[in-house]
């Protein structure tokens, strides 16, 4: 039984987070602890964002949230930045993506549930991401319980992502956390015959077979390793999937390097 990611793989977690402390600045202690935890599990680099989960965060709040990520990028080159925006403020969102990506080297856009992924309100953000060649990673799930449905009424699921892929064909879409708590089988059934959407494996759910079935449904070239902070869950369910060495390398490293345009060495 394998308990570690092979050392020859430069493993990239495409979905993780850093957070502010009480002073609004990066919580450096927590960020250092996250890096240390990832080191134990041989996760070398982490894509981090700081999304705001409220209904309509203002452009100023969004900018402050992204400044926390910039602090993380300055702290360690193991962090790869993803820029959070609220598409409801389209002009400001595009300017913020340009600031974070063009000026500060972030590699992706992170969206939360302010709008469905296929809402026309996403158009400016999606076109900007396509123009800059960065992927869009979006919070997602097919949730079946009343509480989560009430709290996240505009949560996107695979059906929405399929529509968005048709609406924004130039944009690379990553549907977040197949293990994020929703009906993952429902999501896989929607995505299995429709190319154009990537999936990350993060989330706390470690149902038997979840990664193996995800790879079987989408193919290894559309699946990205990620944890969303559930570190042992991410690594454990990945290693339990019985993947071939080439599949493991694609999921842990190759796909992320391609989507994020990271150069090796």
């Amino acid at each position: 039984m394998r308990y570690t990611i092979p050392s020859e793989i430069d493993c990239i977690d495409v979905h993780n987070h850093v957070h502010p402390g009480r002073d609004g600045q990066l919580d450096r202690t927590a960020a250092a602890a996250l890096l240390e935890g990832c080191t134990r599990l041989r996760i070398r680099r982490l894509c981090v964002s700081n999304p705001l989960t409220g209904d309509q965060p203002s452009p100023e709040e969004v900018r402050r949230a992204n400044d926390v990520v910039l602090d993380a990028l300055a702290m360690s080159d193991r962090f790869i930045g993803f820029c959070f925006v609220n598409p409801g403020f389209a002009r400001e969102a595009v300017a913020e993506i340009r600031r974070c990506v063009v000026d500060h080297g972030m590699r992706g856009v992170k969206l939360y549930h302010q709008y469905l992924v296929c809402d026309p309100a996403q158009t400016a953000v999606m076109e900007c991401a396509a123009e800059l060649g960065v992927p869009v990673l979006m919070h997602a799930g097919k949730v079946m319980d009343a509480q989560t449905r009430r709290l996240q009424p505009r949560l996107s699921n695979a059906e929405h992502f399929v529509r968005a892929a048709a609406m924004f064909p130039r944009t690379t879409l990553i549907q977040a956390h197949i293990g994020g708590g929703g009906d993952w089988e429902w999501n896989l059934r929607h995505l299995e015959t429709r190319p154009g959407v990537y999936l990350d494996i993060s989330g706390s759910v470690v149902d038997a077979g979840i990664v193996r079935r995800t790879v079987a449904a989408l193919g290894a070239d559309r699946v990205c390793f990620a944890t969303d902070g559930s570190l042992e869950e991410g690594v454990g369910k990945l290693l339990a999937a019985g993947l071939t060495a080439p599949e493991l390398r694609l999921i842990c490293q190759g796909n992320a390097e391609r989507l994020l345009r990271l150069r090796r060495g």
Binding site: G37, L41, G182, D207, G236, K237, L239, A240
Partner: protein
């Protein structure tokens, strides 16, 4: 390594592999696990859930010494007193699982308290699953109720001599410290599968707070992959003695398997087999 949290039997809402005891045992052994407590999933759904205990005892009999049975009882159903006695004295089951979210009662109900008192008098610990699967992915016919830490602690306080293990619960040491009414009960036990290590060292903090004898390794197999739970124990900042206890010693003690009774097995007569 001993796994306190496994199951056999059919889960109706999703295909779960390795549901039969033979396959479950193979799976556990492949992961270096040399013993496990197992409950019968059917007990969540049968109205007369004791039939699931009869099935369980028969199914695990070939694996005596490896698989230890956990009864599922419903204090809101008829004749639980006789079923409890049969589980302990005839079937050789070593713990009682209560699932109020599936059986439709509250842990504070007099019958539930009476059952816990009676099981405790027989030396059986009580298992309380916080959930069986993540309710966010529930089947539309499945429950979305969970059993909370507060409800479990209420039971601990109502029956202080009981030993109550909560499975499938994610909790922080801070939440345990902040429990209303004082510090963590001395009769509360936690299963490890949802306690993080690499991100925050929650498992280690819970061990320091509750003591290693109150924190027991569990995987949730075959519903869940086993490796994540093993990684949590492997990467927890524990002493060697603490790790040994959490990995199996504490579970064996909780089930009374450290007292040379593991071979007791069941004494299931043919006439008691389910039809």
């Amino acid at each position: 390594m001993y796994d306190i949290h496994t199951a056999m039997g059919h889960w109706p809402f999703r295909r779960v592999p390795n549901q039969a005891p033979d396959a479950l045992r193979r799976l556990l052994e492949e992961h270096g696990i040399d013993g496990a407590a197992v409950a019968n999933t059917h007990g969540l759904f049968y109205k007369n859930c004791h039939d699931a205990n009869l099935e369980l005892a028969e199914a695990i009999a070939p694996h005596a010494g490896f698989l230890t049975g956990v009864a599922t009882l419903n204090p809101a159903y008829a004749a639980w007193e006789r079923d409890l006695a049969a589980c302990a004295e005839i079937l050789g089951l070593r713990a009682v699982r209560l699932a109020p979210q599936y059986h439709g009662y509250a842990l504070g109900d007099p019958a539930a308290i009476a059952l816990v008192r009676a099981a405790t008098a027989m030396g059986l610990p009580i298992f309380l699953p916080h959930r069986v699967v993540d309710v966010r992915q529930r089947h539309w016919l499945d429950t979305e109720q969970t059993t909370s830490l507060g409800e479990a602690v209420g039971l601990c306080r109502a029956v202080p001599e009981a030993r109550v293990l909560v499975t499938e619960l994610a909790v922080s040491a801070g939440a345990l410290r902040a429990l209303e009414g004082g510090p963590v009960c001395g009769n509360l036990y936690l299963e490890t599968s949802r306690l993080a290590s690499c991100h925050g060292q929650v498992l280690a903090q819970v061990v320091k707070l509750m003591g290693p004898e109150h924190v027991v390794f569990g995987s949730g197999a075959p519903f869940k992959e086993i490796l994540p739970a093993q990684l949590k124990v492997r990467h927890a900042d524990l002493t060697a003695a603490e790790r040994k206890a959490v990995s199996g010693g504490s579970a064996r003690r909780l089930l009374g398997l450290d007292r040379g009774q593991s071979e007791r097995g069941n004494r299931l007569p043919w006439s008691h087999r389910p039809s």
